[in-house]
C-alpha cells in the first residue's frame, strides 16, 4: 500500500487549540479525530464552594469572545431558582447586551476568521493589504458597534462587569444608548452590503442532512429565553437538558462530545440552526439580508451557509438593538437584593456559536455545590467530525493542499471556540 500524508502544523483562525488527524486507506477514512489539546481549566470544579454572586465574574473567563453568553445563562438560571423579580427593563437591557455580543462575534468571524478562506488569503490583514480594504474596514466598523455597546452597558467589551444576579450594578442611561442610534441606522444599510459581499463567494456545496438544535421562542428570535427544539421534531427544556443530551469523553479530546442520549447521534447548534428553527421571528432587514446572502427556502442544511446565517443574525441584532434603544427606560433600581435558597438552577441562552446550557446546584447559603456547563462548541465537536467523514471521501481527487484547506473550512464553519469547549487546529491527513 502506498502511503501519503499531509501535515499542516496549524489550522488557524479559530479560537482555541486543537488538531485534526485524518487517515485515509484505499479511499476510506479509517481514522478521524478532532484532537482538543487546549488544556483543561476545570471551571466546573473550582466553582464549587464559591458564592453564587461571584459566578457572573468567573464564568465569562471561559471565553473572551462570548463572555456575555456565560454571564446570561448563569444569571437567568439563578434568578429563576431564587425567584428574583428583576426591575422592569432588565430583560430588555440584557437582550441589548446580547445583541452587542452577537454583532461583535459574528462580524469577527465573517470578516477576520472566515472570509480570507473564500478569497484565497491568509488573514483579513492580507485581504486589506491586497484589494479588499473597504470591505475589511466596513466589517471592523460594524464589529466596533457591538464592542462599543458592550463597553457602554458592561464597562468593557471583554468580560463586562455590570451584569449580576438581580440586575445590573449600573444601568446605562438613555443618553448613552441614544448616542448609538445614528450608527445603528447606518449599520442597517451596511449589513446588506455585507450580505452582497458574502453571496458571490465561492463555497463548496455540501447539502448534507443533519439534526439542527436551537432554542425557540414564539415572540422573538431567541437569545436569553426559550425552550429547546430540533429540526427532527424533538422538544425539551433547560430542566431536561441533561436527560435529552449527554456528554461523552473520548481519548483524543480535552473537550467532551455531546450526543442525544436516546439515539447516541450528534447534533448541530449555532446560527444556521437558529435560522432554520426561527425563521418566523426574523426581523425585516434580517430577512432581506438572509435572502441576499444566499439563504433560500427552508431547510438550509449546508454548513457553508453558516456565514450567510451570521450576516442575517447580525442584521437582526442591529434591528433589535435599535428597537430596544428607542424604547429604553433604565431599570430603576438597577438591581434588587437577592436571597439565595437551595436547589438546582438551570438555564439555556443562545451564545453566538449556539446553545449554552448551565446548571448550578446551590446550598442554603448560596454556595455552589456542583456546576455543569455545556458550551456550544462541545455540542458541535461530534458533528464536525461527522461532517468531515461525509465530505472528505468525495474530495479525494483534490490536491493535498486543497484537501487540507477544505477540511479546515469545514471546521471553521462552526466558528469553534475551543477555549470554551475546553486553540490552533493542527491538521494532519494521512493517506494510504
Amino acid at each position: 500500500m502506498t502511503h501519503r500524508s499531509v501535515e499542516v502544523p496549524v489550522v488557524a483562525r479559530v479560537e482555541g487549540e486543537g488538531a485534526l488527524h485524518v487517515r485515509i486507506d484505499d479511499g476510506e477514512i479509517t481514522r478521524l479525530e478532532l484532537e482538543i489539546y487546549e488544556p483543561p481549566r476545570f471551571f466546573e470544579s473550582f466553582l464549587r464552594g464559591r458564592h453564587f454572586s461571584e459566578v457572573s465574574d468567573i464564568v465569562p473567563r471561559i471565553c473572551g469572545i462570548c463572555p456575555v453568553a456565560y454571564q446570561m445563562s448563569a444569571i437567568h438560571g439563578m434568578e429563576r431558582l431564587f425567584e428574583v423579580e428583576v426591575p422592569e427593563g432588565t430583560y430588555e437591557l440584557r437582550r441589548l447586551l446580547y445583541c452587542a455580543e452577537w454583532i461583535e462575534s459574528h462580524m469577527l468571524h465573517v470578516h477576520l476568521l472566515a472570509a480570507p478562506d473564500f478569497l484565497g488569503f491568509d488573514s483579513a490583514i492580507e485581504m486589506a493589504q491586497k484589494g479588499f480594504k473597504p470591505q475589511v474596514e466596513r466589517g471592523l466598523r460594524l464589529k466596533r458597534i457591538g464592542n462599543d455597546l458592550m463597553a457602554t452597558i458592561g464597562g468593557r467589551e471583554i468580560h463586562p462587569v455590570s451584569p449580576m444576579v438581580g440586575g445590573f450594578s449600573r444601568a446605562a442611561t438613555k443618553n448613552e444608548l441614544r448616542a448609538f442610534e445614528g450608527r445603528l441606522e447606518d449599520a442597517l444599510a451596511e449589513i446588506l452590503d455585507v450580505a452582497d459581499f458574502v453571496a458571490p463567494l465561492e463555497m463548496p456545496e455540501f447539502p448534507r442532512d443533519a439534526e439542527l438544535v436551537s432554542m425557540v421562542n414564539t415572540s422573538d428570535y431567541p437569545m436569553n429565553a426559550g425552550d429547546m427544539a430540533s429540526t427532527r421534531g424533538r422538544t425539551w427544556t433547560a430542566e431536561t437538558y441533561e436527560q435529552v443530551t449527554e456528554e461523552i469523553h473520548v481519548a483524543h479530546s480535552n473537550a467532551l462530545h455531546s450526543v442525544f442520549s436516546d439515539t447516541q447521534t450528534p447534533y448541530f447548534v449555532g446560527p444556521l440552526a437558529r435560522y432554520n428553527l426561527n425563521e418566523a421571528t426574523l426581523t425585516p432587514v434580517a430577512r432581506e439580508a438572509a435572502a441576499r446572502a444566499g439563504l433560500t427556502s427552508l431547510p438550509n442544511l449546508d454548513p457553508f451557509l453558516s456565514m450567510a446565517a451570521r450576516v442575517a443574525e447580525t442584521a437582526l441584532a442591529f434591528e433589535e438593538a435599535l428597537r430596544l434603544i428607542r424604547a429604553y427606560e433604565p431599570p430603576d433600581p438597577p438591581h434588587v437584593e437577592v436571597t439565595p435558597r437551595a436547589g438546582s438552577a438551570t438555564w439555556t441562552t443562545e451564545a453566538p456559536r449556539g446553545t449554552l446550557y448551565h446548571r448550578y446546584d446551590v446550598d442554603d447559603d448560596g454556595s455552589i455545590v456542583e456546576a455543569k456547563i455545556v458550551p456550544p462548541t462541545s455540542q458541535n465537536l461530534r458533528h464536525m467530525e461527522h461532517d468531515l467523514r461525509e465530505f472528505l471521501p468525495g474530495a479525494l481527487d483534490r490536491s493535498e493542499e486543497e484537501l487540507t484547506h477544505v477540511a479546515e473550512m469545514i471546521v471553521r464553519n462552526y466558528d469553534p471556540c475551543i477555549s470554551c469547549a475546553t486553540h490552533f487546529l493542527r491538521l494532519d491527513i494521512e493517506r494510504a
Partner: protein, 269 residues
Amino acid sequence: MSAQAPAKPRVAVFKMASCDGCQLQLLDAEEALLELAGAIDIVNFAEATSYVEPGPYDVTLVEGSVSTPEQIEQVKAIRAESAFLITIGACATSGGIQALRNGTDLATHVRNVYPTPEYVEALASSQPIAEIVPVDLELTGCPVDRGQLLAALAWLLQGSVPRPPTTPVCIECKKRGYVCVVVAKGEPCLGPVTRTGCGAICPGMGRGCYGCFGPSQPPNTEALAKKFVELGMKPTRVADTFRFITGYAPAFREAAERLERLEREEATT
C-alpha cells in the same frame, strides 16, 4: 530593542491556557490593527492568520498560563526564539482564574469534570510564564488593557521599554471623581490594593473592584481585609475575595492564606 533591530519588527502571538480575551484585544483594536500591521510584521498569530514564519521573533506576546507539561517545553522554546518577551493578561502573569486549583488536589478537579480522568493530562498548578522563563515585560489585567498593550508596542517601536503604573485603582477613582463603593455602599472593593490600568471600570459601574490587574505596590491587604470583616463579611468570604482572578499573585495569595489561618486558629480556641 537594539539599534540594529530591523525597520519592521517581527512579532509573534502565542496562547497557553486562557480564554483568548487578551489576544482578542489586538483584533478588537480594529482600525489600529490595520495600522499596526503596517508598522510590524506579524509572523505568527494563529487566531488572526494562517500565515506562519518560524522564529526568531523581535517581540513575542504570550497569553495564558502554563498548565500542562508540554507547555513548559513550549514556553522555553518561545523564550529561546524571542528577543523581547511580553506576557499579557492575568493568566500569563499570575496563573489566571484557573490557578484556583493551585494548592488543592488536582485529581479531585479532574474527577469533578471528566468522566474518564486518565485521558486528562494537566499540571497540579496553573503557573505564570515568569515562573518558567525570564520575562521582559508583564502586562496584567483580565483582560489586558488595549490602550496599555498598543502603547507598549508603540514604545517598543520607538526603542523604549514601557513601565505600566503600579499605583492602586483608588487613585484612578479619585481622578475620575467616582463615588467610593466601600465608603458609600459598604461593599467590598479591592481597589485600594489593586494596580490601576483598567481605568477603575468597576467602581465606575457602581460595584467593587475584583482585582483583575493584580496587586498594586505596596498593597496593604491586611488593613483592607480587616475593613471587610468590619463590613460584616466572614473571613472565609474575605479570603475568597483575594483568591480570585489574580489570586495566585503572591500578595493576594498570602492575604487569603493569612485569613484562612486566622479562621482556623479562631475555630480551635
